[in-house]
Symmetry: C2
Subunit: 319 residues, 2 copies
Amino acid sequence: MGVRISACQLAVPPGTEDNSQLAARIGKTADWILLSTGVEHRRIADHDDDPIELAAKVAQQVIEEVGPPDLLIYAGAIPRQTLPDSSAHVLGRLGLSGVPGFSVNAACLSFAVAVRSACAVLESDPAVNRVLICCAEFASRGRNFTQPESAALLGDGAAAAILESCDGECGLKHWSMQTFPEGADLTEVRGGGLRHPFTEPSGTEHLFEMDGPALLRFTVPRMRRFLNSFLKDAGLSPQDIDLIVPHQPSGRALEVLELFGFPNSRVVNIIRDYGNCVAASLPMALATAMQEGRINRGDLILLTGTAAGVSLAAGVFQW
Amino acid sequence: MGVRISACQLAVPPGTEDNSQLAARIGKTADWILLSTGVEHRRIADHDDDPIELAAKVAQQVIEEVGPPDLLIYAGAIPRQTLPDSSAHVLGRLGLSGVPGFSVNAACLSFAVAVRSACAVLESDPAVNRVLICCAEFASRGRNFTQPESAALLGDGAAAAILESCDGECGLKHWSMQTFPEGADLTEVRGGGLRHPFTEPSGTEHLFEMDGPALLRFTVPRMRRFLNSFLKDAGLSPQDIDLIVPHQPSGRALEVLELFGFPNSRVVNIIRDYGNCVAASLPMALATAMQEGRINRGDLILLTGTAAGVSLAAGVFQW
């Protein structure tokens, strides 16, 4: 019994913000933004847009391509509201009643973790044959304009994928994840939970806080060791990987993958057009690669990335 | 290959609030509270208490009983903060670096869903032998004192469990879940996410909203059909279940289980002492049952309940 990713699509809000529009708000030039972040423009949702609508829209697209799911996993970092979890709202918008839903949150690695959970469920429960994973992130609502780097990096987007049981060799062949909580304060949204009680007035604690240079220093050596050991355990070398589909933290973080032995030509890079869309970035990159015909049957696809936590994850999916 | 629940413990804040202390704040009598909700007293965390500390404390207890985990799943409805997810903070507090962590959220059914995910991972990944599931809920911080019923029901608590691979027949034998999003607005915390942007002043949208009578009317007939069909598919009758470990939504919701064929004597009921502790209630009930020696090897244990969403779930765990 194998598992295949039958469909993956992305959806973004129509509004585009280019660097010249953003530059003055963060006290930088458009050139500085492109050079520092790798982002040329990003999509920004309107104030009244509901992330659930965008998530349901892209979910509907993959359902039309493949068929209705037996289970929905919402794999996002920032929910629409605290309770209930976003899976119920997406199911409601899709008009699906009775299909189970829950949420998985591993910050920017939520999609990768959901793929792993979905594969485990598809392999172990014969009653589940089709799992829908989706999310929409409107990270622009948490931009802190006094922090130029993170404010310039973040963008809005959504993606959905359907995983199905199938015959054959396809599926998640190797998986590994590590969390290094000593880096937990390098990327935060400190509000929105119990730490700052709901009834206290909101301030900057509800905005993204990121120490980009410290995060890169923290992450790069750990990611190098992690990926080396992951590939060794899997009996693979970087050359065996046909395509790397990473989270899109920043232009610089994507360039670093070359140092680990993955040539740029095999790394899906959508940072220039969309920025860092938090948990939506990885499936948006996968959707882009599929749309561009960059994935063929039998290919070994590396889903990988880093996330607030700090977590590192890698999964080799045989297509 | 089986899976066993090697340990499950609970922890609660020391502060107890009895009905006479609460009565005036919600404009009711202590008797009304007990009669309407089944709660006699509940634990209330201090304003400065950190839910992560309580979650880590009880997690440490089960680790000392069994050993360190290969994976931590934080299974709560309300996080300490928006980003990163709470698993990283618990890992940090436990001093565990390199152990992977992520969060699962299915509102009050988060623990049940995490058990199901953990079992699937333990069965499918030989590199994972021990999964720690934990959460702490400080629901008292979201009490809306203009809504007497929900304000009287909610309490604070935490629980942790460790699941391990093992030889033998034990494990999750049957599992089912359904979500009915047409009831999603019957229990809500509308703030704390993208719906009410972080930078807008907080109001009552950050408090629990629950329409108790409507929720009971919505849930009871669906739960009856769901449990009937679940047991039928599993080839079981209510008499085959040795112990029912349910979420603790309210005294009345627990009494309803008798109408479904489960005698009160076999239903773990801790609502009187702790109230509804959201996602912590189900594992707190399991911890209580284990502590009281109510579970024996080979027993069939029904983990079940309802959650905001509205979701229903049931899992038969052979001990």
